[in-house]
Each structure stands twice: as C-alpha cells, then as structure tokens.
C-alpha cells in the first residue's frame, strides 16, 4: 500500500513537471499584464499576438526581434522575485519523509481501550465470515413474524397468547425494514417454509407468505396497528417475490396489459413509492386518436382489482376525485358525436367568423369629412422651462 501511494505520487509529480515544461499559449490578457508590470509600453502584448501568426512581414519580424531583445534585457527576477520560504520548504520535506517512514516501517497500531478492541475484533470476525447485521436478525424476525401470522390466522391477534404492544410491533417493523433487500426476504421466506415443503422457486414461497399476511390483515379480529403491519409485510414480500422472478416471466406480465384501457394498470407499489414499473400507457384505440394517457396505479392496485383513474398521472385520480375509464370513454364518445354533427351555419360563432372572412360583413369604412381646426379648442403646448428656453431657441444653430 505505501509503495502504491509512492508510485502514484511519483506519477503525479512527473505529470506536473511535464505540464510545467511544455510550451504554453500566452493569452492577450496575460501578455498585457506582464507588459504593464515590466513597463514595455505595449510591445510585449503586440509581439505576443504577432508571434502567434503564421505569416509575418518584415515589419512584424523587426517588431518581434526588437521585442525579444527588450524582453531579454528585462530584469525578470526583480520584477517577479522568486518566493523564498526555506523554513516552510524544510518543514514540508521533513513531514513528508516522516509520513512515508511511518507508513512503511511501523506495524499496525493497537487500540488503547481493550473493550473497544474486543468489539472491533468481533465485528471484524463477522465481517470476515461475510455475516451482516441483517443475517443476525433473521432467526428472531422469523420467530416473531411466524407468531404474528399464526395469531392473526387463529383470530387471536395475540402472538403467543400475550398482547403485542405497538412498541414491539414497531420494533418488528424496523427489523423487517432492515431486511427489505430482496435477497434477505428470500432467505426469510425459505426459513419460514414448512419442513420438506420448500419449493425450488423462492418467489412462490415469498408469494405464499405475502398471501398469508394479506389474509391475516383482512381478518376482522386483527387490531388496526397489527393490520397495517401485516399489509406492509405482504407488500414488501410481494415486491420481493416479483423482483426474484425470472426476467421472461416479468416481461410476459408486462405485455399482458397491452389492452390497457379495458384491463387495468400494472400492479404497482403504493402511490407515494412509485417506480417505473407502475406506469402503464393506455391508448385510446377506439376513438381513432393517437394520443395516449399515462396513468399511475392507485394505492390499492397491487391486487389488480381496481380500474385506472382519470388524472394527470402520479396517481392523481384519488386526489382529483376523477372519474373512471367508463366515464372517460363516454365523455370522449359524446364529444366525437358532437364534433361530427357540428355543421357550418348551425354554430353561431363559426358562421359569424365565416361571414367576416368572406367579406360579407355589413360594416364598411366610410371616409369622413375633414375636420375643421378650431383654435379655441387647441391645447397649448407645454411651457418651456425658463432654464431651457435659451437652449431651445438656439437648438437649430448648433455649434460645431
């Protein structure tokens, strides 16, 4: 590791040296700045521009030669004195050498606190074995979830016959949240499968647990907080099951909603946790239009029972209290019929416009008699301020 760092530093240093030694293009602003500092009267600025030209005449060559002589005669060390900081440079060198020596020759340090060291050693051991905190949570989560499901199915809603407080439920949810990774949920589903009943496809096991949790949540004996928890478990497990399905199976499900307007939106997550898979395009094939409506699945569409709503997307149907597809279809049909039967002449606005365009308007322009000028009604011009009067009078006699 130290050798790699040294190598990287050497490469950077070489790059810096190469960059510093290569020929730079001097901009006009830089040339003007140096010119002003050196008091060259614009010669360097002008010469730097001519030096960048490909073709030059004898005057430009003479100009460049003379500028070069003047630049050579300038005392640049006096104009731009080198930065002298021997102490800072020495300290920097010593610190750099010390850092490299420490990194190369000293062994790894031990912690001053034995307890902390033991904890760190245990954590290192677990990390070395590839065990994570989530793995450690699995057995107890499995037990508590199994107890919760069993109690809900039995109608007691009391796991183990003892009341489960909201705090305990939240603790369980937090631990389940730690396992929201699809792989972890798959492990959990496998662990909860009946002995000998585990199938080869983990998605089926997960779907089974999700269905169990959904049914348990619908039990009337279940307390509201327990119901929410079970629904959440069902949704998470269902998501994980979909994610673990083979790709071709996912594709077939997606294409199955092609006849979108009559069927339903693709099963999605909750409205507040939308992903791209929950967006379905529904084309209005019957009305002949090419426009499509992008709609989001509503909150309760995971089960696929609800119809898509009318909205501007983002699951807005519930918010806007919009209609359903049947209402949309009826409204579109009504508009189409009205548009087809809207003949010219029956629509008042259309007829009025057509008359105007065809020059049938009865209003015509007539020349009026020239108005007579009434001096009595003439408005006096604004008075010229006294301070401007002389200037106004001499305006047309402008001095050169």
């Amino acid at each position: 590791m130290p050798l790699a760092a040294l190598g990287a530093a050497a490469v950077i240093l070489l790059g810096r040296v190469f960059f510093a030694r290569r020929e730079h293009t001097v901009s006009d602003a830089v040339a003007a700045g140096i010119d002003e500092t050196a008091g060259l009267g614009g010669e360097l600025r002008s010469a730097s521009w001519f030096a960048s030209r490909d073709t030059r005449d004898s005057w430009a060559d003479y100009h460049l030669g003379r500028a070069a002589r003047r630049l050579g005669d300038a005392d640049w060390r006096a104009l731009y004195p080198p930065i002298r900081a021997p102490r800072a440079k020495a300290v920097t060198a010593v610190l750099a050498i010390s850092t490299v020596a420490l990194a190369m020759f000293l062994p790894g340090r031990e912690s001053l606190w034995p307890g902390a060291s033991a904890k760190a050693a245990a954590a290192n051991a677990i990390r070395a074995k590839g065990i994570t905190d989530a793995d450690l949570l699995l057995p107890e989560v499995q037990k508590e979830l199994e107890a919760l499901l069993a109690a809900a199915e039995n109608g007691t809603a009391m796991p183990g016959g003892t009341p489960m407080t909201a705090t305990e439920l939240r603790s369980l949810i937090n631990r389940l949240n730690a396992l929201r990774d699809a792989g972890r949920l798959k492990d959990l589903a496998r662990a909860m499968a009946p002995p000998g009943g585990g199938s080869e496809e983990p998605s089926k096991e997960m779907t089974a647990i999700a269905e169990r949790a959904q049914k348990a949540a619908q039990s009337p004996a279940v307390a509201p907080d327990v119901r929410d928890t079970l629904q959440k478990v069902a949704e998470d497990m269902s998501d994980a099951a979909r994610a673990s399905q083979p790709p071709n199976q996912n594709a077939s499900e997606t294409t199955s909603s092609k006849d979108g307007q009559k069927s339903d939106a693709a099963p999605g997550k909750k409205g507040g946790d939308v992903d791209e898979s929950s967006i379905t395009s529904i084309s209005e094939a019957e009305t002949g239009g090419g426009a499509g409506v992008i709609m989001m699945g509503a909150k309760d569409e995971a089960s696929g029972k609800s119809s898509p709503g009318i909205g501007m997307g983002g699951g807005s149907a519930a918010r806007t209290d919009g209609g359903r597809m049947a209402d949309l279809e009826a409204a579109l049909r009504r508009e189409t019929i009205e548009a087809n039967t809207d003949n010219g002449g029956q629509n008042v606005q259309t007829e009025a416009r057509r008359k105007t365009e065809h020059g049938q308007a009865t209003v015509t322009y007539a020349h009026s008699a020239a108005g007579t000028f009434d001096r009595g009604r003439a408005v006096a011009p604004p008075p010229v301020p006294e301070s401007r009067r002389a200037a106004v009078q001499t305006y047309f006699i402008r001095p050169q």
């Binding site: 002008s46 521009w49 001519f50 005449d57 005057w59 060559d61 200037a391 006699i397 050169q400």
Partner: protein, 331 residues
C-alpha cells in the same frame, strides 16, 4: 537581417523628418505643441484638419507656417456667405485664339494647391461648403463633364470660430466626417504669451526653412501605413468607435443619454492610422493602446452627434469621449 535594417532606417528617417517639421513649425508657432503634432499627423495620414478656436490664437499662422516648412503650394480661401463653388474649384472661361475664334479654357480655382486654408469655413453656404466634399474625399474636382485630379499631397485645413454663430452655416455631418481630426486651438499659456510677444514685437527673424518636400511627404505616408497593428489593439480602436453609439454594448451612460448618432467607420480608420504615425514618431514599429488613446479624442469629437438633451444641457462631445476612454476596457 537586411529587411530589419531597412525597417529600422525607415523608422529613423520618419522620426527624423517628423521632428524637423515640428521644430521648424515651432520656430514660428508657440505653445501649441499638441496641435502642431496632430496637424502633422493628419497631414502624414492624408487627412484634413478642422481647427477651431477663438480669433487670434494662431490658427491661420499655423497653416501658413506648415505650408512654408513643407515646401508645398499654398492657397487661402476666405469663406463668406456670397462665396460660390466656382470660386473654389474654378470655372471655364472663354478665351480667344490669336488667329481668331474662341474656346473654353478651365481656370483652376484656389483648391488646386497642396495646402488649402479654408478660413472660417462655416461662413459659406452649404452649397459652397459641399464644393469641398469631392476634393477632400477623392482628391479630385469635377467641373462640367471633366474631372481634374488634384496634386498630392493635398491637405485642407479649415478653421472656424466657435463664438460667432450669427450668420453661419454649421457644417453638415457628411462634411464633418471627412475631417480626419478636429483640433481645438486653445488660448496660449502665460509663458507662451511671453514668447509670442517677444517674437512678434521685435524685429526677430521668424523665417522658416523648408525641411520636407512633397515626395518625401508621400514617402512618409507610405512608411506610416506599413506599421503593423496587433488585433487586440485594433479591436480596442474599433470598440472606441462603436462605443460612441447609444445602442452599442460598449456605450457609456453619457453616450446613452446624450448621443443621437455615433462615429462612422471613418473614425476607426482615422484612429488606427493616426496611432501608427504616433508609434513611428516614438520610434516604435508597433501600435500600442497608448497610441490609440492619444488620438481618440481629436478623431471622435466631431463625429458624435448629440441629441436634444445633450444640446440643451450643453454637453461637450469631449466629455463624452473622455468618459468612454476612462470606462472602456483595454482587454
């Protein structure tokens, strides 16, 4: 190496001649070094000069002296309201052959000279003033169907009095634009007045010698046009000319408030050419920002047309150009 020596010799020769002209004019004209310098600059650029100043400050003397020093033909036209164009350019008169019969012969007017002094130019009518337009721009005169070329070098030095405005005809913008510089001849300083009194009230010798002739002057013009100018410096000169336009992004607040029309492209040409001559006069083979700034005021002041607000507030175009010079970035 040979070309470098030739360039260096050209610069030295130009500088030497310029210095000799200035010194010789200075023997008779006191206290107007900058006006003399810029008048010679305009002469070497092939431009014309409008001299403005109160009576008695030496405008006409300057022109007389310049013609004497340059070994050039000189003529003076006193502009009056009844002056006619034919009085300037000349006319065809009927001549009689010795053997009988008549014919028309062109009688050249006073415009046929190298240095023409148009004294009090704003006293003539616009019709007469415009007789100078062709001569100033094309160095030619058209009479009837014939166009006559004027001899080079050709220089019009016009004077006008800024005080007496009664019975005058302000020069139109087209005529003003044809003047390379507008120079203001100010009242001399106290020290200069001492010298003027001593020279003119004694029997002192104020004769000048002719140091440069016409061909040498044309050679100096050629040298001046050879001086290279870097693009950033040229861009600065262009920005100066554009900055006099109210709609320009380089316009200053005074320009936006008081200017109706800004300088024409002739202004940028004049600035660059005059800056080249200034550079040569300093012995340099390049044009610097300093050279451009030195000639910007006389090249721009008469090319800016004020609006009513500017006229009413009696704003000077000098103030506007000075603000432009102070505010415009050189980069």
């Amino acid at each position: 190496m040979t070309t470098s020596i030739a360039v260096e010799q050209s610069i030295d020769q130009f500088r030497d001649r310029f210095l000799r002209i200035t010194e010789e004019v200075g023997r008779r004209i006191v206290g107007h070094e900058e006006v003399v310098n810029l008048t010679i600059t305009s002469l070497l650029a092939g431009g014309h000069v409008l001299l403005e100043g109160i009576p008695g400050v030496g405008k006409t003397s300057l022109v007389h002296t310049l013609a004497d020093v340059l070994h050039l033909t000189f003529s003076r036209i006193q502009f009056t309201p009844d002056l006619m164009p034919a009085d300037i350019v000349g006319t065809n008169i009927v001549q009689e052959h010795s053997h009988g019969g008549t014919f028309f012969e062109f009688q050249p007017g006073p415009i046929f000279a190298n240095v023409v002094l148009a004294d009090e130019i704003n006293r003539a009518t616009p019709k007469t003033q415009s007789a100078l337009l062709e001569a100033m721009q094309d160095v030619s005169v058209s009479v009837g169907k014939t166009t006559y070329r004027l001899e080079q070098p050709f220089l019009v030095l016009a004077t006008q009095n800024p005080l007496e405005m009664e019975g005058t005809y302000p020069l139109p913008e087209a005529q003003l634009d044809r003047f390379f510089f507008k120079l203001k001849v100010m009242y001399p300083s106290e020290e200069a007045m001492h010298q003027i009194i001593e020279r003119t009230t004694r029997d002192a010798d104020t004769t000048v010698t002719r140091v440069v002739d016409g061909p040498q002057l044309l050679e100096m013009r050629h040298i001046a046009r050879s001086v290279p100018i870097a693009r950033p410096v040229q861009a600065y000169a262009i920005r100066l000319a554009l900055g006099t336009h109210p709609a320009s992004p380089y316009a200053t607040p005074l320009v936006k408030k008081y200017v109706r029309y800004g300088a024409s492209p002739r202004a940028a040409q004049a600035i660059v050419l005059a800056a080249k001559i200034q550079a040569l006069n300093r012995g340099q083979a390049f044009v610097s920002i300093h050279d451009v700034r030195a000639v910007a005021l006389p090249a721009l002041r008469h090319r800016i047309l004020l609006n009513f607000e500017g006229e009413a507030d009696e704003t000077s175009t000098d103030t506007i150009v000075e603000e432009l010079l102070a505010g415009l970035s050189t980069e």
